[in-house]
Amino acid sequence: MKPDGLRAQIEALFYEYADAIDEDRIEEWPEFFVEQGVYKIVSRQNFDRGLPLATMLCESKGMMKDRVNAIRNLSMYAPRYFRHLIANVRVKSETAEGIAVQSNYAVMQTLVDGETRVFNAGRCVDQIVREGDFLKFKSRLCIYDTIVIPNSLIYPL
């Protein structure tokens, strides 16, 4: 069902995006971006100090597919569940460049036979554009508070 209203549509985008990751349909993840879309996960510490390092960096849908392929076929890791809580969605502006949106998130991680823990929390700073009938990410920047990562970050946030 297509929701009415810009914020509702943006939230739908966010929630379907999260669902693809949480429900292990990670192959769909790059499709939420435009072809030259950029995805970046950076620590709040690096971000605040102006350091360019990203913990995860994809500069194109192709790189996202490479990441998906790694997750599916190359990397070795313990099975786990992610669960996104997306909150505080704020549409900041809409220009020719796209729609600027910010939001907060917490990702809960559950390792098999383990407890559910807050794995990562922070905010997203997004640029969203229309592509045909759909909204897509032109860029998504996840700035995480959780400087010390509990072991490994397998999936995109």
């Binding site: 350091l51 390092l53 990203a54 913990t55 960096l57 194109s60 790694a70 990397s75 990562i149 970050l153």
Partner: protein
Amino acid sequence: MDVDGRAGSQRRALKQWPAEGVTRVPYWVYTDPEIYELETKRIFEGGSWNYVGLEAELPHPGDFRMSHVGPRPVIACRTNQGAISVLPNRCAHRGVQFCRSGFGNTTEFTCPYHQWTYNLYGKLVGAPFRKGVQGKGGMPPDFAPNEHGLPVLAVARRNGVIFAAFGESPPPIEEYIGPKMLPYFDRVFDGRALRVLGYSKQRIPSNWKLMFENIKDPYHASLLHVFLVTFGLFRADQPSETRMDTTGMHSVLVSSRGEQKGNAATAEMKSFRGDLKLNDSRLLDPVREYPGKATVVMQTLWPNLIVQQQTNTLATRQIVPRGPREFDLAWTFFGYADDTAAMTTRRLRQANLMGPAGFVSIDDSEVMQFSQQGISQDSSGAGFLEMGGRGTGDEDHMVTEAAIRAFYTHYRRVMKL
């Protein structure tokens, strides 16, 4: 009723190193709290040069960063004379861990509790009310401020890398690294100014030594790391070397990039995928930047440093133990101050291979957790390390656990185990 007696003697028996020597590593070295305490004293505080940071992080007088020597929090400072001082992050008065900022610039450190103030050399330069207030109270007349400074650590620097040591100063850093290892160190740290690109930190639920074993273990790389193997970044059939210093405490793994082409060796690697292609090849767009054929050099320096040069991604990895079953791995990614913008972009892209979400390093951080879990099932077992024979010497290949055996040779000597 024999609980205590038996448990006690059992415990003692558990701590007998297996008769086979370093081809076995008893599992209690990864789990026992007393062993961990001894490691703190004999290894991290016992005459070893611990990595604490890069000079590039402290460009200006008064710049400081928090760091660790083994598990112990310290502060590395750029002094006004351009030297480096390293101070314990603990007040000499009543023990407050006073410095709370990861990075900063200051002329002195003031403990919040009673404002004892130390200069960048650890000297106590202020203690309010020392002479009392309105003629009352204050420190005794024999209070000697110079006896109440911070016990500074010994400091060594080489080509922009800072080391520190508790207790008596170890030998000069060049001697400590040794003539065999120094050229590898100097290969990346060649005297050019460095530029820090950023930091990553992981909390890994395993004993800190498993991190060293991992990096000293070329045998696993061809098998565990599908990414490395498939793209020929590090593979057993490529020209390679495993080198140790004379003590066994340091080592390097050296290798040259190969092709994504099957052969007899790759046939044995379940992890080899001949048909895999990157969708965006910018991810791996290697440029040769060091003399010689080696495209990857992974160096481990006792007791807390890994220097990573994998293609064009450079990083120091500092090991910060947090008890027998956990350590933090603190990554500092860097390039050179004179890098082109294109090279910086390349390094940042290749950084996808490393760190908490690294295409390669995820495998390692996960397998270390699995190791600790298996080891902790029952600490009366022992690891079996006979790949490449039972020796502890250099090898011109990767199919060996020699560097791990060398590491434990030194470990046993230092730990008196």
